[in-house]
Symmetry: C2
């Protein structure tokens, strides 16, 4: 398939398409019309048709989409057909929760190391991977090819850690620390700011309460 530029708005929606298509495959569905997919995903059928037209010639009128083909193609666009070696920095509850998330492995994110600063954790196993000390990290990154670093360290350690990661060739950081990382432009950062998400929920909740008091 020839690649063309896909708009950011479409890209943002791709993981959700990918998820629904994956569920359809699990259910044994081989083809689906944009109308049926539209009902399932609660977006308009025309939005779906427009979005999926970006991926070329599947989905003929009256014939529906080939679920598996579409799933595979979107997976390729999302880079899920390539193995991404990944390490986790911080072996606390969050780090361990992410390490134990089996679905990541299925999608090509291969956990190759877990690091912490707490010596009590050294050598403990998480999914068969021994927790190493962060002091071993530079050596580890010289020996192994690692693409993605998952940063679950406390905020006060995250900035220094990002610098070490970048120096040692990490190309992408999945950042759970509650700060904005200052990294070179060619390093990809994807933030998960949990407390900001909770604040958005709180805002909507408060707004709803206020609006209904006024009435």
């Amino acid at each position: 398939m020839e690649e063309k530029e896909i708009s950011k708005a479409v890209i943002k929606r791709l993981p959700r398409y990918y998820r629904y298509l994956g569920e359809l495959i699990e259910e044994g569905v081989e083809r689906i019309s944009s109308n049926d997919l539209s009902k399932k995903m609660k977006v308009t059928a025309s939005q779906i048709r427009q979005d999926l037209n970006n991926f070329g010639g599947f989905g003929q009128q009256g014939y529906g989409y080939n679920v598996k083909y579409l799933y595979t193609e979107i997976g390729k666009i999302l880079g899920l057909d390539i193995l991404h070696p990944m390490i986790i920095l911080g072996a606390g509850n969050l780090g361990q929760a992410l390490a134990n998330y089996v679905d990541f492995e299925k999608r090509g994110f291969e956990l190759v190391g877990i690091f912490d600063i707490n010596p009590v954790l050294e050598g403990m196993g998480v999914r068969g991977i021994e927790i190493k000390m962060i002091s071993d990290l530079p050596f580890f990154l010289k020996e192994k090819k690692v693409e993605i670093a998952v940063l679950t360290l406390p905020k006060n350690r995250a900035a220094d850690m990002a610098e070490i990661l970048v120096k040692n060739g990490i190309k992408a950081i999945w950042n759970f620390a509650h700060i904005d990382l200052d990294v070179p432009e060619d390093v990809i950062v994807e933030n998960v700011h949990l407390s900001e998400s909770l604040m958005t929920l709180s805002y909507n909740l408060s707004k709803y309460t206020r609006d209904h008091k006024e009435k």
Copy 2:
């Protein structure tokens, strides 16, 4: 302060303002100009001025913003001045990570219960709160006032759980399960779809690699 409608785009940026203002307070900064805040936050000063103008009359020309006042006002808009009783469904690593996140408590999110289906966990303590069985949930929700439910159960249990929560008066769900919940319109859902975030990172990483191979 009189309330007026604030645009969604501004609301989305508020948690980030709140975070930076909180850091400034920690650093002992009492006033800050939009220019200095702009450098810190890497957004334009005019954007900051426009956004913060929504909050009325502080920030006079040449005098800067009163950091603490602004922090407090934004906190009010975000509903952080009100206590939000919260329960966590799922006492696995992720549920425990969220339970142990002390910052939530500081911002008015008071954890009042943790529930799981695994009888092995029953009675175990997380931050002084005993893990209860999910079968006790309806009774618990009748006895206690709970606003927010944090859903960290596996996807196949999340849909049923959301129904139970809604039936028992929960007004907001912070959803970590990998599905879109089907709830009445007046129930607020804020999703944290971790694997979709990781896919976005993967997309950007793959795109960067492709773009640089082409050159």
